[in-house]
């Protein structure tokens, strides 16, 4: 990839950004997209991909700039608001916000919901801006790295994700890992992608497999309803509702954490399919390892909250790279973006920088404008949205059940999905009363199929010489990383407990 082409995109970025923010049509569609994204992220069960896919048919009636603005708006909007519900009602709106729950909800219970939402607005904004900037600066290097990652390395990243989530999400890493492994096993149910064999397919519904959306709704949403409403007097959020409090001092104090989380987000975002689910956990883990106060993590640490949210939003930058320069979508939303680009006759791939000079800069500018608009809008609307989620739990949680049921139904339009959500709700409740965290299980269900396919594809590729698979340089680094995570997982927790 020629440096001249990259530098050309760098040069065009300021003018592209100016062009985007001064085009009324683009700004209006971007704003509409962020509003739709905000709603989608807040409602459990409605996913970013679902909303983007539903609007795809409408998008191609719009000009290219407006269509892309609408889709990018939805992505940036939903990414932010998924973390918002995680803070306010302990139910992440998107799978990527599962790590946000760890510190966001304890902060809300301490009466610091407005500060937590403010921190999320700031961190997610910086994550988005820095993530896209890194995309553009490191375009040739990251593309090279993306090409180096094969199936074996993708499998190892999924393993690392489960180990990290398992070690961090609960009080006992063993229980976290059990939840993660069980999640991976649930993902194995259904038709296997390599040989087409129906694993654990005892009924027709099971042959189709377990959809992660109903599982997410059950494990986080319904189990939370059971946990809270079984109390005669359910908890109520303390502190006064009102507009989010922007704590810029916190953002500046944790700027190194933001930079590290951005790099994690961009780096992991390039891995197709798993980036957004794994990166917040890796960033959270790194933040905890380098923090002066690791004992506060999981009890209401702004540093942990900022790390998870920054990485979540920076991932869209990383996911953009394989989509634009290789034509391989790095995540669900970017797969929809890729489809939209094809509809408009744009051919993403190595020749994109030559065929359409300035297009990468334009896309980055759209993400920046979307991030800016979303956060200003979120801050202005936060007074209303925070007030809404402050209402008594006896009212809001039954509403979450009905929305969850609708979301589970909408994920596949089968009764099996609704029953799956309910079954996972009961399982989630039983897990939580025995201190098994549900987050690693959701992650396992989400990335299990990718882990299985990539491992077996790697084994097929290297079936003549398995040793050469284990000796791949990137794989060796990841194996060392996985061993390090396993060894240090318990030790770090022990140190944190000792400090408290």
């Amino acid at each position: 990839m020629s440096w001249e082409l990259i530098i050309q995109e760098w040069r065009l970025l300021p003018s592209m950004f100016l062009h985007v923010i001064t085009s009324p049509g683009t700004v209006a569609t971007l704003f509409l997209g962020t509003l739709i994204g905000l709603v989608v992220g807040v409602l459990p069960g409605l996913t970013i991909v679902m909303a983007m896919a539903l609007l795809l048919g409408f998008v191609f009636r719009l000009p290219l700039e407006w269509g892309l603005a609408l889709l990018i708006g939805i992505e940036t909007g939903a990414q932010f608001s998924g973390g918002f519900t995680a803070i306010m009602i302990n139910i992440p709106g998107t799978p990527a916000a599962a790590a946000t729950v760890l510190d966001g909800f304890p902060l809300a219970k301490q009466g610091r919901a407005r500060e937590a939402v403010g921190a999320v607005i700031g961190a997610s904004f910086l994550g988005e801006i820095l993530g896209e900037l890194c995309t553009l600066i490191f375009l040739p290097f990251v593309t090279l790295l993306a090409l180096k990652l094969g199936d074996w390395e993708i499998f190892l990243v999924t393993v690392a994700g489960i180990i990290i989530a398992g070690a961090l999400a609960g009080k006992n890493p063993i229980k976290g890992w059990i939840a993660g492994v069980a999640g991976l096993l649930f993902a194995m149910v259904g038709m296997d992608a390599i040989w087409g064999y129906p694993r654990f397919g005892y009924t027709i519904d099971l042959v189709k497999g377990i959809n992660f959306v109903p599982a997410l709704i059950g494990l986080f949403g319904l189990s939370e309803v059971f946990m809270v409403l079984k109390e005669k007097v359910p908890y109520q959020l303390t502190g006064r509702p009102g507009r989010a409090i922007m704590r810029w001092d916190l953002i500046f104090r944790h700027f190194p954490t933001i930079v590290r989380a951005t790099l994690v987000g961009v780096g992991i975002g390039i891995i197709p399919g798993i980036g957004e689910a794994v990166s917040p956990w890796v960033a959270y883990d790194w933040a905890k390892r380098t923090s002066r106060h690791p004992e506060e993590f999981g009890k209401g640490s702004f540093e942990g909250l900022i790390a998870a949210e920054t990485a979540d939003n920076a991932t869209s930058g990383g996911a953009l790279i394989p989509t634009l320069v290789l034509g391989i979508p790095g995540s669900g939303p970017t797969a929809i973006l890729l489809a939209a680009l094809f509809i408009y006759g744009v051919r993403p791939g190595p020749t994109l920088l030559i065929d359409r000079p300035g297009f990468v800069a334009f896309t980055v500018a759209l993400f920046w404008a979307g991030a800016l608009m979303m956060r200003i809008g979120a801050w202005l609307l936060s007074s209303l949205t925070i007030r809404l989620l402050y209402i008594q739990r006896e009212l809001i949680l039954p509403l979450a059940v009905a929305l969850g049921v609708l979301g589970a139904w909408g994920s596949g339009f089968t009764y099996f999905d609704v029953m799956t959500a309910f079954a996972f709700g009961v399982l989630g409740y039983l897990m939580r009363i025995r201190d098994y965290p549900p987050a690693p299980m959701v992650l396992g269900i989400l990335i299990g199929k990718i882990a299985d396919t990539s491992l077996r594809r790697a084994l097929l590729t290297y079936s003549n010489n398995l040793l050469s698979m284990f000796l791949r340089p990137a794989g060796l680094i990841l194996i060392a990383f996985v061993i390090f995570l396993l060894v240090s997982g318990r030790r770090i927790r022990g140190r944190a407990v000792a400090r408290t």
Binding site: Y197, K230, E394, Y415, R456, S463
Partner: protein, 160 residues
Amino acid sequence: MEEHGSEGQRNAGEFLAGIVLVGFSIFVIVESLRMPQRGPIPYVLSPGFLPLLLGFILFLLSTFVLSEGIRGGGHRKLGMWLGGISKHEEFWRWLIILLMTGGYTFVLGKIPFWMATVAYFLAIFIYLRIGGPARIAMYALGFSLFVSYVLPKLFEMPLP
């Protein structure tokens, strides 16, 4: 349900969870071994390879939990713990809410979605005593309208 009970009750819970997990992992291992073996390296490329691997890992991890439960004498206190669960008020509240939610999911497709949603909201709001009849009716109808009309219209979603 016991959540912050005594050490003995905790160990009884650990023991029961360990038994269930070990049983589940053995089921996974047996089922994985029954899956067809294909490809140049038969077992490694079989559809059951990763489930088998995960089954073994789950078995190992579950034995930690089980041994912790046994070390703490959980197997001796299991009967007492299970017998004591039904005496907790929280258990009954959980069960009633579970039955209401389960009933709501079960009747979908058998009666119109809006009707099931209104009935669910009315039942749960009455049980949770959120206020007088007017308040209950207002919230039940308002929320039902939002869930079974506004949202499906907005996202062009067919209803159960």
